[in-house]
Amino acid sequence: MTPNDSNPNETSFFNRPDGLARVLALGDSTGDLWSPEEMQAMWQHQLSALLQIDLDSMHAFRLAELKDAPELQRFLAKSFGDLLLDPQPPFELLKITKDFAKETLKSGEDSQLNAIATALYHAAYAAAIVAGQKRLGGMDDAELKRGFEWAVSRVWLDDSTRKLIGQASDSLSSGR
C-alpha cells in the first residue's frame, strides 16, 4: 500500500503538510517503537517465549552440552516464565538465561527491549536466590538490590515475577 494504491479519501494525510511530516519522520531513529501500554504485553510475550527458541540463537553450544542433563529435560519445551517460577529451577539454565539477557543488553539499541532484558536478567538472579542456590554471577548485594528495586517498580512487570524479585530482595536484606 502506497498513497497511489489507496482510496483517495484515505490519502488525505498525504496531501497535507502534517501528514507529509509524519511520513517523512518515519525513518527517524529516535523515539520508542512501542507504546508504554504495550510493555506489559511485551513482558508477557517474553515470559511465554520458549527457552529453546531464544536461547538457541546465542547459546546453542551450551544448550547442546546441557540437553542430556536429566534436570534439564523437563524444560526443553518450557518457557522463561516456567523456568523462573519453578520451585527448583536448574542452576545452569538460569545462568544461561542471565547471560542471554546480558548479551541482549550489550548488543541491543532499543531501549524498550533493553528494559525487558534487564528485567529478565534480575528475575533470573532472583529465581536462583529464592531457590536457595549460589549466585549466578558476581553482582554484589548493593548492585542486586538496586536492580531488584528497579525491576519491581516497572508497572508492566507481572505480579508473580514481582513477588519473586521481592522475595529475593528481602532475603538480601535479611542477610540470608
Binding site: M1, G19, L24, P36, A41, R146
Partner: protein
C-alpha cells in the same frame, strides 16, 4: 560505483562532450526530471494562474522547457550543489524560462516589437515565502515520499522480506497516512508469528532503517553527497514545519490515534556489570 561522484571506473573520460563522471550524473538527473515533471507542472500552473492568457499554456511551456533547457548538453551541469538545492535551481530556471518565452511570443505577435508584459513580473524576486514555491515543494515532497515507499515495497518483495513491509504498514505507515491506531503488540505477534519481543522489535526497527535508507537513496538521485542529502532532508522538514506551523509545534496529540510516545518509565535501567 562511487556514491559520491557516481563515477564508474570503466567509463572513459576521453569524451569531449561528456566526461564520464558527469555523464552518469546527467543521465540520472534526466530520470529525475522525468519523475518530477509533475511537480514542475504543479509549480508552473500556480505560476501562470494570475495570467489568464497563459493558463492553458502550461503543458506546452513545460514541454519546451524540458526540450530547450534540461535536455540540452551542459544545461544540467549548471546545477552547482554549492549554489543551492537542485529543486530550487529547477524552479528558478523554469520561472526565468517562462518569462523569457512569453516575451518572445508576445514579440512575435507584435511583429518583433517588444514591450513590457505582465509575465515580466515573474522574474522579479518575491520576498518572503511564495505560495507558488510552496506548491512545487509540496508536490515534490509527495513524489519523493511516494517513490521512497514504492522502492521500499519493491525491495522487500524482491528480497523476500514481505513481513518487514507489512509490519511497517500496520505500525507506522497507516497510522501516519490514515490516522488509524497502530496494530497493537498482541495482534502484531499473532499476525506475524514473532516468537519473542526481540523478533518483533528487530523487525520493526529494520523497517524504519529500511525506510530511512530508501529515502536517502531517492534524494541522492538529485543531490550529490551525504551532506547535500542531509541538508535537503532537513530543508524539507523545515519547509513542512513552516507550512504547517500549528501542527509542527504541537506535541503528538494525546489520543489513541498516535504513534508511540516516549516511555514515562524510561529511566535508564541498572546495567549488569561485566560479569
Amino acid at each position: 560505483m562511487d556514491p559520491e561522484t557516481h563515477k564508474l571506473s570503466e567509463v572513459s573520460e576521453s569524451s569531449a562532450d561528456f566526461p564520464g563522471t558527469i555523464w552518469l550524473q546527467v543521465t540520472d538527473r534526466k530520470s529525475v526530471i522525468h519523475k518530477y515533471r509533475d511537480a514542475l507542472r504543479v509549480y508552473l500552473v500556480c505560476l501562470l494562474a494570475p495570467f489568464p492568457d497563459y493558463r492553458d499554456e502550461a503543458d506546452d511551456l513545460l514541454h519546451d522547457f524540458i526540450l530547450k533547457k534540461i535536455l540540452q548538453p551542459g544545461w544540467l551541469e549548471m546545477a552547482n550543489p554549492s549554489k543551492g538545492r537542485f529543486r530550487d535551481f529547477l524552479k528558478s530556471s523554469l520561472r526565468h524560462f517562462v518569462a523569457s518565452e512569453s516575451r518572445k511570443r508576445e514579440a512575435e505577435k507584435r511583429g518583433g516589437k517588444t514591450q513590457a508584459i505582465p509575465l515580466d513580473d515573474l522574474e522579479q524576486e518575491i520576498p518572503g515565502s511564495e505560495p507558488d514555491a510552496d506548491s512545487f515543494d509540496l508536490a515534490w515532497l509527495q513524489l519523493l515520499l511516494d517513490e521512497t515507499l514504492h522502492q521500499m515495497e519493491k525491495s522487500c518483495a524482491v528480497s523476500d522480506c514481505g513481513h518487514i513491509w507489512n509490519i511497517f504498514q500496520v505500525r507506522l505507515l497507516r497510522p501516519a497516512l490514515e490516522g488509524v491506531d497502530p496494530l497493537p503488540y498482541p495482534e502484531v505477534i499473532a499476525q506475524f508469528g514473532f516468537k519473542s519481543p526481540a523478533q518483533a522489535t528487530n523487525a520493526l526497527a529494520s523497517a524504519k532503517r529500511m525506510f530511512a535508507r530508501h529515502l536517502r537513496a531517492v534524494v541522492a538521485q538529485y543531490e550529490t553527497g551525504d551532506a547535500a542529502v542531509q541538508a535537503e532532508l532537513e530543508g524539507l522538514r523545515l519547509f513542512l514545519a513552516r507550512t504547517a506551523p500549528a501542527e509542527g509545534q504541537k506535541s503528538r496529540p494525546n489520543t489513541k490515534s498516535q504513534l508511540p510516545r516516549p516511555n514515562p518509565q524510561g529511566s535508564t535501567p541498572p546495567l549488569p556489570p561485566a560479569h
